[in-house]
């Protein structure tokens, strides 16, 4: 099937695989939070029921039960037994309901910001996260790899200074580095704001003033992720580069007397592929790390949304965020896979003889 279109076949194959992973992720996302015996409605009722009359409390509880699909619902009404009590939905029914809602793009309603939809809360946060993480990861990857390739090629003094520094920076946990930057540049020196995504008194809009404020607040979170990422990538690239330098084609290129820049370009191209694979594998960690950085800076993105949700036991919100993070990691991985398919001659060759993979 599709033998004459190997690239399309490869894409479809990878896509199918990621779709399967997605289904597993959705399942995990549903069942894990239900491992604990806690009924989320009991927890939220314990907090919010005080001060309500018994009747109001019952109505509220039932609306929550319905909201979370914990009871059977028929045509928008709660199914009741003979005594008028709501009929509990079984685990499997809840799961089916959850899947159905997921595919409709409905992630439920937030506890804390009731009656706001989880998806709406997330939609407000996502642009901030994308604006922070996408450029950071891309720049971090590119600059880290270029520096790593240089260190591998030059060795000598540059390498001896650069390597330990990169190693030290990359072993800083994301949150530690963020905290130190906040402390030094925001609290001690007072150069940059310590928290938030823009000045409090400005209303977000596409005005010049807002963008300038956002850019100012962008600096510290950007650097706290960027430096760690670039350091880590540089170290990986350096050892790949040193490995490639020992191979015959580089020796041959040197004997031929090719220009240094040309050799580095070859080196970079070949050492880059394992680095791309590495990027795919570490994307999950990177994105999670960057989310914690957002929490440190109280940056108004997804990380902050999760933190607030956790602090308020806002289960639908937590699950919505984790699902979204998983989906974006999957999409990012898929993109990298496709890129590798186009860049890696071995994968390409495999495609042409129709072996797939």
């Amino acid at each position: 099937m599709l033998k004459q279109y190997p690239t399309l076949r490869y894409i479809l194959q990878r896509g199918g695989w990621y779709f399967l992973t997605f289904l597993v992720a959705v399942t995990i996302n549903f069942f894990l939070p239900r491992l604990g015996a806690n009924n989320p409605v009991d927890i939220i009722m314990g907090k919010s029921a005080s001060g309500l009359s018994a009747e109001n409390a019952r109505i509220k509880e039932e609306s929550y039960l319905k909201e979370f699909g914990l009871v059977k619902v028929d045509k928008g009404e709660i199914v009741r037994n003979a005594e008028g009590k709501p009929v509990k939905a079984s685990g499997l029914e809840q799961f089916a309901n959850y899947i159905k809602m997921c595919f409709k793009g409905d992630l439920g309603t937030s506890f804390q910001k009731y009656p706001k939809k989880v998806l709406d809360v997330i939609a407000e946060a996502v642009p901030w996260t994308i604006a922070l993480q996408l450029p950071t990861i891309l720049f971090g990857w590119i600059i880290g790899n270029v520096l790593g390739a240089l260190a591998a090629y030059r060795r000598g003094v540059f390498d001896r200074v650069f390597f330990p520094v990169a190693l030290l920076i990359s072993s800083f946990p994301f949150f530690v580095f963020g905290m130190l930057l906040v402390y030094y540049f925001a609290v001690v020196l007072n150069w940059f704001p310590a928290m938030g995504g823009y000045a409090q008194e400005i209303i977000p809009s596409f005005s010049f003033e807002f963008l300038r404020s956002a850019a100012y607040y962008y600096v510290l979170p950007f650097f706290s992720i960027f430096l760690i990422l670039a350091g880590g990538q540089a170290i990986g690239m350096r050892s790949m580069g040193i490995y490639e330098l020992g191979t015959d084609y580089i020796k041959y290129a040197k004997w031929l007397g090719l220009k240094e820049s040309k050799i580095i370009a070859y080196l970079f191209r070949n050492a880059m592929l394992p680095q791309l694979t590495g990027l795919a594998l570490s994307l999950g960690t990177m994105i999670s790390g960057a989310l914690i950085t957002e929490m440190i800076f109280s940056y108004p993105g997804l990380g902050m949304a999760i933190l607030t949700a956790i602090q308020n036991n806002d289960y639908p919100m937590i699950q919505g965020c984790t699902l979204l993070i998983t989906i974006s990691v999957l999409i990012a991985n898929f993109t990298v896979d496709i890129l590798i398919g186009f860049l890696d001659p071995r994968v390409k060759a495999g495609l042409q003889i129709g072996k797939g993979n």
Binding site: I28, L32, G36, S171, Y183, S288, I310, N313, N333
Partner: protein, 277 residues
């Protein structure tokens, strides 16, 4: 032994080892040198002074005591998670890589599935659903069970490459069973590799615990370096410039992780001669 000699010649390895041993010694003898107390010893956020060398926290507790406790917890979680992740990953990786066939396919599929689902997400989901009874040991177990995938993948690649080597075929012709071949002829080759995986898993275990505690889903039964940071953040110590609330614990975490990375990187150099000069 030659490898060990080579390693000890590398300043990076020695630095890493010394730093790491120093943290372990601090964790082990700390309680005997310094009286650990979780009682109130001074006012809230008192700056470092003679009676509390690193100041006090928001409850007036002595930070030196908290840090020693926290360090012990972090090392414990790191080793627990590291041992689980390395053991499970190594066993599955070797078995799958060596055996091949449908078992390998199945292990591979599970590994590939869980390697792309961020373990941090799984950690959040489990921890947030366990409101009570979230202990340090449980968190270590969860971290170990979610991070074995990449040790499995790394070890599998190595053991699959070994499979077709002559000495393995020879052992098979001699009539050695799968288990004997794995224990006698494959594990020794992978030992250095497994050691490196273990070092990285310990580091990632310590980091994961700190991260999950940092966002308020840490252990409820004890103090860890992550819970100290979480408290500092919740009380606004960062913005108020109360440096003793977070600098010491961040430094300790960074030193442990840096030491482990140094050990790992220098070991990579010793095992892979090309990286040496």
């Amino acid at each position: 032994m030659k490898i060990l000699k080579n390693l000890l010649k590398s300043p990076m390895f020695v630095t890493g080892l010394v730093l790491f041993l120093a943290t372990i010694i601090l964790a082990l003898i700390g309680p005997y040198v310094h009286t650990i107390t979780m009682e109130r010893v001074g006012p809230q956020y008192a700056p470092p002074a003679a009676q509390y060398l690193l100041g006090t926290d928001d409850l007036g507790r002595d930070y030196v005591s908290l840090l020693i406790r926290g360090l012990r917890s972090s090392l414990y979680v790191g080793f627990l998670a590291g041992i689980i992740a390395t053991t499970v990953g190594t066993l599955l990786g070797i078995y799958g890589g060596f055996k091949g066939g449908w078992i390998d396919d199945l292990i591979n599929m599970i590994t590939n599935l869980f390697i792309v689902i961020p373990s941090f997400v799984i950690l959040i989901l489990i921890s947030s659903s366990l409101k009570d009874g979230r202990s340090l040991t449980l968190i270590g177990l969860i971290i170990g069970m979610t991070t074995w995938t990449w040790s499995a993948r790394a070890v599998r690649a190595q053991s699959a490459a070994l499979k077709s080597k002559d000495h393995i075929s020879l052992a098979k012709i001699n009539g050695d069973g799968t288990l004997a071949v794995i224990v006698k002829h494959i594990l020794p080759y992978l030992a250095s590799y497994v050691f490196m995986v273990f070092i990285l898993q310990v580091a990632s275990g310590i980091l994961s615990e700190a991260a999950i505690s940092m966002i308020g889903l840490g252990p409820l039964d004890t103090v860890s370096l992550g819970t100290i940071l979480n408290q500092a953040k919740n009380n606004g110590a960062l913005g108020d410039g109360v440096w003793w609330a977070f600098i010491p614990s961040t430094v300790i975490i960074t030193v442990i992780v840096f030491a482990l990375y140094l050990i790992n990187t220098s070991a990579e150099g010793a095992f892979n001669p090309r990286l040496r000069k």
